[in-house]
C-alpha cells in the first residue's frame, strides 16, 4: 500500500466515526469533553454552531453518530451521544445568546426569502443573518419550527425547548410572515428577492387510496402526519379505544404513542415487513413497546371493513419475507386465512411525499420523475439560479440533522451567489492538529478508558405520562450520570500520528497496544495486509494507516478500527515517533473563506 496521506483533511476526520457520520459533522468528542468538565455553555455553543438546535436534537435526533460510535465495536453499546447533547442544553446558562454572533446594523443590501419555517430554512437564516443579509420567512403555521412542531409530539420534544431554540434564530432579526401559506412561486419570484430558499419539507402523507373500504371508512382513517399536526394544534383531542397504526417508521411510532395518550387503549402497530426491517429507530420502537403497543409484523393490509357506515376493523394478509441471491426482498403470502383486527380508527403512516403544487410549471424550476427538484451537485441550486432547495424538500424525507446540513450548504451557495462568485469554489473545512502531550504520561485529554456501561436514562412513570401528551417521557441525564457517560467516550479525535523518521523499530508500541492495532510488517496490497496483521482487520470501512518504508524495509500498519486512542503507544515510544494530536475539523459556514 502507499503511505497514508494524513494531510488529506478527510483521513483523520473519518477516524472520528461519530463526527464523520453526522451530516452536520458536529465535533462530538470535543463537546463531550467539555461536558465532562462541566463546561456546558461551551459544549452547547459547539453544538449550536454546528447543528443549530442542540436542545431539540438532544432529544429527537436520528442519531446517525451512535451506530458509528467506536465504543460499540469494543463494547456492547455506543456512547449516549444524543443524550449528552441534551445535558449540554439542559445545563446551559440562561442568556446563552450572549455568545451568538453579532448581527450587523449595516445590512449588505441583499434580501433572501425562506419558504417554510423548518430546520433547513432556520439554518439558512442563522448562517446568513450575521453576514448582513435581510431574511424574510414565510410559513403557514403561526410560528417557526415546521415539522419539528407539527409532527414531533410534545412528550418527546416539549414546546418550551422548541420555542427557545427557534426563537434564538427568529430573534436574530428574521422578518416573519407566519400564517401565510405561499400559494404561488410566481408571486414570490416577482418580489425581487436576491435569492429564495425552499424548505417546505415533504408535507404530504402517503395514503392507501386503492384499498377497499378506504372511501367508506374515511371519517375514521387518518394520515399520520396530518393527524399528528391536528393533535398539536388541538383540532383533535381524542381517539377511539381500538387503534391500528399502519407503518413502521418513526412517524408510526409517534402516532401510536400519541394515540395511547388520547384515549387509545388497544393500540397496535401493523407492518408489512419483518420487524427487524422496520425503518423506525430502535429506541423509538423500544419506547413504543414500553407503552404496551404490540407490533404485528408481516401483515399486509387487505381492506377496511366498514359496517353501517362505521369502520369496524381491517383484514390483513399474512406474508413472509423471502430474499433472492442479491438480497432483494419479496413478501410472499403464507396462504393462511386473512387476519381480522377490530378497530375504531386507523392511522396511516406509510411514508411521506414531496409536494410542490404551488410551484408553477413554467417558472423555470425543473423537477425530476420522482417530483423532486433538479439540483446542481452539492450546491442545492435549482435550475432557476437564484432558487435553492434544502431539507426534505431537496431529496425527499430524511431527518432534522440532514436538513440542518443542507441549510449550511445552501447558505454557503446563497452567499456565494449573492456575491457573484462561483458556487463550485466552496470554502473548505477548517482543520487543525494540536499536540496533547503535557509530560511523559500526562495528556491534555483524559486517556484512561472507563469500563462503565451505557447509562440508562430516567423516564417518567408510565401511568402518569400516558395521561398527558404534553409531559416529556425522557427526563434526561442529570449532571452526575451525564458525567459518568462522558467518561465512556474514547476521544477518537485525538489522533495517533506516526512520524516514520523518528522510529527505531523497538516494537514498544506493538507490545503495549491493548488492541494489537499496530504492526511492523512487509508491505503488500491492502487486501493481503488485512490478513497478515496481529489482529484481524475485517472492517473494510475502517482504514489502515500505513507509514513510509522503515530502515528494516518494513512499514508500520495500524488498523484504525478498534484503536482506543488511549495514547499508550505514544507513552511507550522512546523517540516520540507516535504522538497524540487532537484533530479539529470544523465544517465551513457561509462567509468562511
Amino acid at each position: 500500500m502507499k503511505p497514508t496521506n494524513i494531510k488529506d483533511i478527510e483521513y483523520f476526520h473519518k477516524v472520528i466515526d461519530c463526527q464523520y457520520a453526522c451530516p452536520a459533522h458536529t465535533p462530538v468528542p470535543e463537546y463531550i469533553r467539555l461536558i465532562r468538565e462541566h463546561r456546558y455553555d461551551e459544549a452547547y455553543m459547539i453544538n449550536w454552531v454546528s447543528n443549530v438546535f442542540p436542545g431539540i436534537l438532544g432529544r429527537v435526533c436520528d442519531r446517525p453518530c451512535e451506530p458509528a460510535c467506536r465504543r460499540s465495536r469494543v463494547e456492547d453499546d455506543p456512547v449516549a451521544i444524543c443524550r449528552l447533547k441534551r445535558v449540554a442544553a439542559d445545563n446551559r446558562k440562561e442568556n446563552i445568546e450572549a455568545y451568538f454572533p453579532p448581527i450587523p446594523e449595516q445590512k449588505n443590501g441583499k434580501k433572501i426569502a425562506l419558504i417554510g419555517g423548518g430546520p433547513a430554512s432556520l439554518t439558512v437564516a442563522r448562517d446568513l443573518l450575521p453576514l448582513g443579509y435581510e431574511v424574510d420567512l414565510y410559513d403557514e403555521q403561526s410560528t417557526g419550527g415546521g415539522f419539528m412542531r407539527s409532527q414531533v409530539p410534545a412528550f418527546r420534544l416539549p414546546e418550551r425547548v422548541l420555542k427557545e431554540e427557534v426563537g434564538y434564530i427568529l430573534d436574530m432579526g428574521v422578518t416573519t410572515h407566519f400564517n401565510h401559506y405561499v400559494t404561488s412561486m410566481r408571486d414570490m419570484l416577482a418580489k425581487d428577492y436576491d435569492a429564495l430558499f425552499v424548505g417546505t419539507g415533504a408535507p404530504k402523507g402517503r395514503d392507501l387510496p386503492d384499498l377497499p373500504g378506504r372511501q367508506e371508512g374515511d371519517a375514521s382513517i387518518h394520515l399520520g402526519i396530518d393527524w399528528l399536526a391536528s393533535v398539536v394544534f388541538r383540532h383533535i383531542e381524542s381517539i377511539g379505544k381500538k387503534v391500528l397504526v399502519l407503518g413502521g417508521g418513526n412517524t408510526a411510532m409517534d402516532c401510536c404513542r400519541t394515540a395511547r395518550r388520547l384515549g387509545g387503549e388497544d393500540v397496535r402497530i401493523v407492518v408489512r415487513s419483518p420487524k427487524a426491517e422496520m425503518k423506525a429507530s430502535p429506541w423509538e420502537i423500544e419506547d413504543a413497546e414500553r407503552e404496551d403497543i404490540p407490533i404485528y409484523e408481516n401483515h399486509v393490509p387487505g381492506d377496511f371493513v366498514v359496517e353501517q357506515g362505521k369502520l369496524v376493523g381491517m383484514h390483513f394478509e399474512k406474508v413472509e419475507a423471502r430474499y433472492d441471491d442479491q438480497g432483494k426482498r419479496t413478501l410472499v403470502p403464507t396462504g393462511e386465512p386473512h387476519v381480522f383486527m377490530e378497530c375504531d380508527e386507523v392511522l396511516v403512516a406509510v411514508g411521506q411525499l414531496n409536494s410542490f403544487p404551488w410551484i408553477e410549471e413554467d417558472v423555470g424550476i425543473e423537477f425530476d420523475a420522482w417530483g423532486l427538484p433538479v439540483l446542481k451537485d452539492d450546491t442545492f441550486q435549482s435550475s432557476l439560479e437564484h432558487v435553492f432547495f434544502g431539507g426534505d424538500a431537496a431529496f425527499g424525507p430524511k431527518n432534522i440533522i440532514t436538513a440542518v446540513a443542507h441549510g449550511h450548504e445552501a447558505a454557503i451557495s446563497i452567499d456565494l451567489f449573492c456575491r457573484g462568485e462561483s458556487l463550485a469554489v466552496r470554502p473548505l473545512p477548517k482543520v487543525h492538529l494540536e499536540g496533547q502531550k503535557m509530560g511523559v504520561h500526562d495528556w491534555l485529554y483524559h486517556n484512561q478508558i472507563d469500563d462503565e456501561h451505557r447509562q440508562s436514562v430516567p423516564v417518567l412513570d408510565k401511568a402518569k405520562s400516558l395521561k398527558d401528551r404534553l409531559l416529556e417521557v425522557e427526563l434526561g441525564f442529570g449532571q452526575v450520570v451525564g458525567h459518568t457517560e462522558t467518561l465512556r467516550c474514547l476521544n477518537c479525535d485525538v489522533q495517533t500520528v506516526f512520524r516514520v523518521e523518528e522510529c527505531i523499530e523497538c516494537d514498544a508500541c506493538v507490545d503495549a497496544c491493548p488492541e494489537r492495532c499496530i504492526n511492523f510488517i512487509d508491505n503488500a496490497t491492502e487486501e493481503e495486509l488485512r490478513t497478515r496483521l496481529n489482529a484481524p482487520a475485517k472492517e473494510l470501512d475502517q482504514d489502515l494507516y500505513v507509514s513510509d518504508v522503515l530502515p528494516t524495509g518494513r512499514v508500520m500498519v495500524k488498523d484504525e478500527n478498534v484503536c482506543l486512542h488511549c495514547g499508550i503507544c505514544a507513552e511507550r515510544c522512546p523517540t516520540s515517533a507516535w504522538e497524540m494530536q487532537k484533530y479539529t475539523y470544523k465544517i465551513p459556514l457561509a462567509g468562511h473563506q
Binding site: 523497538c506 516494537d507 514498544a508 503495549a512
Partner: protein
C-alpha cells in the same frame, strides 16, 4: 511509564487451542523505560506461551535481580512466579523443578544477573542440564545502576557515557554449549519473527534451553558506538538459519529445497526445520557450533538463530533417576513406606 491499561481487547482475537485468550497470558503494566528491549522480549514470551496453548497455571516464571528480572511482573499474570535474590535464579528453579517437574520453568535473567553475580549458578544449572528455559536478556550494561558496562559488553563498545569498554566480553552461548546445554540459541528483541519460534522450540525442549536475547537498553546503551544498540544489531547480525517450529500435532505443509533443510525432532515429537544458508554446518554438532560463533565474532558479526541442539539431551531428573511423580504430590505413605520396607531394604544390603 504508563500507569494504566484499558481492559478492552480486540473483539476478534481468537482463543488458542486450550481456550485461553492472549489477555490471559498478559501481566502487569511495564515500569521499564519506554522502548526497552525487555518489553519486546516479554511480549515474545507471552506470544510463544499463547501459541503453544500452555495453560498459564502450568508455567513458573522465576527471576533474579535487574531490569530484566522485573519481567515476571509484566508477563503471565496467572502463572506461578518468584522474584529471587541477585544471581540466584538457577538455584530457585532447581529447587522448584525438583519439587514439581510438571511445570514449565521460565528462568528470566539479565547479563549482570547471569554473567557476573550469578556466573557460578549459571554454570552449574547448565552443567546439570536442568529442564528449563533460561532467557538471558542481554543489553551489555547495568541499566538499574546508571548503565555501567556488564560482563557481556563487547570490548571497544561505547555506551552513553562515551568511554569504550576495555574488558573482554563473556559469550554465554559459547559457555553454555561447552557446559552441556541441550539447546542454545541467540536472538534479538527486535526480531519477533525469529524470537517467538525460538522460544517455542526452547519450551518444547527437554533439558537446559539457553537463549541469549540481545535486548537493547534505550536509556544507556543505544548509542551509535554500542554493539548492543538496535541499529548495530540490525546491521551486524547474521542468522545461522531461518527455521520453523512445528508442534507435534500440527501437520507439516511447507516444502523446502533438499540439502538446505535440517530437521531436528525434539523429545515431545515436535520438529524444528532449519533452512540453512550453509548446509555443511550441522546444528547438532557442538564443535561446529562453537567454531561458527568464533568465526562470526572475528568478522564483527553477531550470529543469531538456533546455535546448537542436542536432541538426545538428558535432563537432571533423568540423570539423577528421580521419581516420575512430582515430589510435591508424594504423600506420607510414599515417602515413609514403614518399618517393613526399611527392613527389606536393609536385608537386601546384607
Amino acid at each position: 511509564m504508563t500507569f494504566f491499561r484499558p481492559s478492552f481487547r480486540h473483539p476478534d482475537l481468537p482463543p488458542n487451542e486450550s481456550g485461553y485468550y492472549l489477555k490471559d497470558y498478559e501481566g502487569g503494566i511495564s515500569t521499564l523505560c519506554a522502548g526497552c528491549g525487555h518489553d519486546s522480549t516479554n511480549a515474545a514470551i507471552i506470544q510463544a506461551c499463547f501459541e503453544l496453548s500452555i495453560p498459564p497455571h502450568k508455567i513458573a516464571k522465576i527471576s533474579g535481580i535487574g531490569c530484566s528480572s522485573k519481567s515476571p511482573a509484566y508477563l503471565l499474570g496467572k502463572a506461578h512466579g518468584f522474584n529471587s535474590v541477585h544471581g540466584r535464579m538457577p538455584s530457585i528453579v532447581t529447587g522448584a523443578n525438583m519439587a514439581n517437574r510438571d511445570l514449565l520453568y521460565l528462568g528470566i535473567s539479565g547479563d549482570g544477573d547471569t554473567a557476573s553475580i550469578g556466573m557460578g549458578q549459571f554454570a552449574h544449572a547448565v552443567r546439570r542440564n536442568l529442564n528449563m528455559v533460561y532467557i538471558m536478556m542481554n543489553n551489555g550494561c547495568y541499566g538499574l545502576t546508571k548503565g555501567q558496562y556488564s560482563a557481556t559488553a563487547d570490548k571497544g563498545s561505547v555506551g552513553k557515557k562515551g568511554d569504550p569498554n576495555l574488558l573482554e566480553s563473556i559469550d554465554l552461548c559459547e559457555i553454555a554449549i561447552q557446559l552441556g546445554a541441550g539447546f542454545v540459541g541467540r536472538s534479538f528483541s527486535g526480531d519477533k519473527r525469529q524470537l517467538v519460534p525460538m522460544l517455542k522450540a526452547a519450551m518444547s525442549h527437554t533439558g537446559m534451553a539457553f537463549i541469549d536475547v540481545i535486548s537493547p537498553c534505550v536509556t544507556f546503551n543505544n548509542t551509535p558506538g554500542s554493539t548492543k544498540s538496535y541499529h548495530w544489531v540490525r546491521e551486524h547480525s547474521e542468522a545461522t538459519n531461518t527455521f520453523d517450529y512445528v508442534p507435534f500435532k500440527q501437520e507439516i505443509t511447507t516444502d523446502y529445497e533438499d540439502g538446505v533443510t535440517e530437521s531436528v525432532v525434539l523429545h515431545d515429537s515436535s520438529v524444528i526445520h532449519l533452512h540453512k544458508t550453509d548446509s555443511s554446518i550441522h546444528v547438532t554438532d557442538r564443535r561446529q557450533a562453537v567454531d561458527a560463533l568464533e568465526e562470526h565474532k572475528k568478522k564483527g558479526l553477531i550470529l543469531t538463530g538456533v546455535l546448537y541442539i542436542d536432541p538426545d539431551s538428558e535432563d537432571t531428573h533423568h540423570i539423577l533417576n528421580t521419581s516420575q511423580q512430582p515430589l510435591n504430590t508424594l504423600g506420607e505413605k510414599d515417602l515413609c513406606p514403614g518399618n517393613e520396607a526399611l527392613q527389606s531394604i536393609n536385608e537386601s544390603c546384607r
